[in-house]
């Protein structure tokens, strides 16, 4: 049995007259210690999918279908009290903006100790020691001094390290990280990514990494899930998907990267934009932007299927040439 299993998850946002379906029939699972990347553009539903695991959807969003099994229990049906024993304890969360997690008027020590004492019956002294050891783990220099700092006294990279240390405090089984390095500078970004990768490996923690950056995903995760307009369009082993993408959308994303194009030439672009959730096209949501779209694509919503754990939601897989041959043709 997988550690976390999400089955046919549906999330909707009732907004007055209209109801937006942010997530449609999304399923995925995470084994212990596994690192999964969820990739997609803004509005694709990747953050909503991750937030719904911990029932952190902003109002009026709600889970309207499916189940979220954590060690076999459906945590989407949990009440607030039950949820608290999971959230921040066995599954923790790292947000894009460290200040979402850190309270600006409390010292690092107060926040870390409070967090520990909320989940464990331990003394203040023990909590202090654990906190310091976690700060050491995330390579914060002179951790004892840093314990007494307020968040605004720390630099952006330091704050994100503190947030990671806080996420690790209760030795969770899963960490959900929502664009953890997007707000940081390139050099700091690389350091934080390495740190997260090392920590997940050494502590055998599962990681769900939500990002728009394919390069970051390719470095850190073992499996990848590409989302488009609320659905999963492709999933599989990270290396396999990056080197041999099958869905036209994933291929388009990869081909659009400057690294994949000759310097100075026009980039390969995906035409058009992602449709808004209240005006999704019929059939495959990608059909207006797809070069391979046929009449059928406007009628059928493709199923996610494939072999060897590499699944794609596209009905024209046979017609599409392999990615390598296509790149070679340019």
């Amino acid at each position: 049995m997988a550690l976390l299993e999400v089955k046919d998850l549906e999330v909707e946002f009732p907004l007055g007259r209209i109801t937006l379906q942010a997530i449609r029939k999304v399923s995925f699972s995470l084994e212990k210690g596994e690192r999964l990347g969820i990739v997609g553009e803004s509005g694709a539903g990747k953050s909503v999918a991750a937030f719904s695991i911990l029932n952190l959807l902003s109002r009026p969003g709600r889970i309207s279908g499916g189940e979220i099994l954590f060690e076999g229990d459906d945590i989407s049906k949990f009440d607030d009290r039950q949820m608290r024993s999971i959230r921040g304890n066995r599954i923790s969360m790292i947000f894009q903006d460290p200040m979402m997690t850190l309270n600006p008027v409390l010292t690092v020590a107060t926040q870390m100790i409070e967090c520990l004492k909320a989940h464990r019956k331990i003394s203040k002294k023990e909590a202090w020691d654990i906190s310091v050891s976690k700060l050491k783990e995330v390579m914060i220099p002179s951790p004892e001094e840093r314990m007494e700092s307020y968040p605004h006294e720390l630099s952006g990279g330091m704050r994100q390290r503190v947030v990671i240390a806080m996420a690790l405090l209760t030795d969770p089984e899963i960490i959900i990280a929502d664009e953890p390095t997007t707000a940081l500078d390139v050099t700091i970004q690389a350091e934080i990514m390495v740190l997260m990768l090392d920590l997940c490996k050494s502590n055998n923690v599962g990681l769900i990494l939500i990002t728009h950056d394919l390069a970051v995903v390719s470095q850190v995760t073992e499996r990848i899930m590409v989302m488009y307009a609320g659905r999963v369009v492709e999933e599989g082993g990270t290396k396999e998907v990056i080197t041999n993408p099958k869905h036209p959308y994933t291929r388009g994303l990869l081909k659009a990267l400057p690294q994949e194009n000759t310097a100075g030439s026009r980039l390969n672009q995906i035409r058009g934009t992602m449709p808004s959730l209240n005006a999704l096209p019929k059939g495959c949501a990608f059909n207006p932007r797809c070069d391979f779209a046929t009449k059928e694509c406007h009628q059928v919503v493709p199923k996610l299927e494939g072999r060897d754990g590499h699944n794609t939601a596209c009905i024209h897989l046979e017609k599409i040439p392999s990615f390598k041959s296509e790149l070679g043709n340019q």
């Binding site: 007055g16 007259r17 109002r59």
Partner: protein, 319 residues
Amino acid sequence: MGKPHSEVSGAKIMTRIKSFLNSDFVYRFRKDKVAVVSLGIVLVLVLSAVLAPLISPFDPYDLKSIDIMDSEIPPVWDENDGDERFLLGTDPQGRDMLSTILYGMRISLMIGFFAVLLQGILGVTIGLLSGYLGGKIDAFFMRLADIQLSFSTLMVAIITLAIFQAAFGAELYSKLAIFMLILVIGIAEWPQYARTVRASVLAEKHKEYVDAARVIGMSPARIMFRHIFPNTLSPILVISTIQVANAIISEAALSFLGLGMPVNQPSLGSLISSGFEYIFSGSWWITVIPSFFLVLLILSINLLGDWLRDALNPKLYKD
């Protein structure tokens, strides 16, 4: 050439109205019963005040139509003394209460509206200048606003009006009362607007569209009025509703103190005041009925303003 053009713009206006009626704004308004009822009451009161010369049974300004023998007649629902000519009774001079209230409301609303217009023009201009130009201009106007806010509107108004009345005599004063009230209430409350506008200008002026306008080479005046001003309209609209209500209250209070509208041209405030001495002799309606209209008017305007504030602030989204 002219005709098809006007037809085109006519059709454009129709589609605009249609899309407005279909908008979320209207949808949310229609779902809020308090807002709908408030708007209904405000519309009825304002319309009847504007149309007072057409719909009121008597002209309270026409001294010939007033008969002192008709004074202090209670409303029609008083079975003993009621007179069917006077729906809401008469006042001590024998004027029909309903007509007097309609005319009085007209004056109250007029003072409220024009005083707020004056406040708005002053406050918006000062707010835009202080916010956009900053520096010494900003420091000067904001300190001035601080000083002005430390006096209450009523205090300023009472002193100014009392001096005016003493200096120029009650007769001239009663002729100019309406302009004086507009002027005094208008000038006394500009800091409310100036501060609100300045705050939103400060937020807007760092947005990139203002930089873009500067890069194109627009003059500061054009940037202020054409680019920044339209983006500060929502807060202006919200405080305007509340300020109209405040101005009407201020006017009523001043009239009640004898510094407002004269008895021969009464506003709601002076009506309430004029009936006050008769309240213990049993003629309660002379004070209570205009008070009821005043409270109804102010309450609905404020409720409407509250709704507007919530509706224009997406952060306060309620499901």
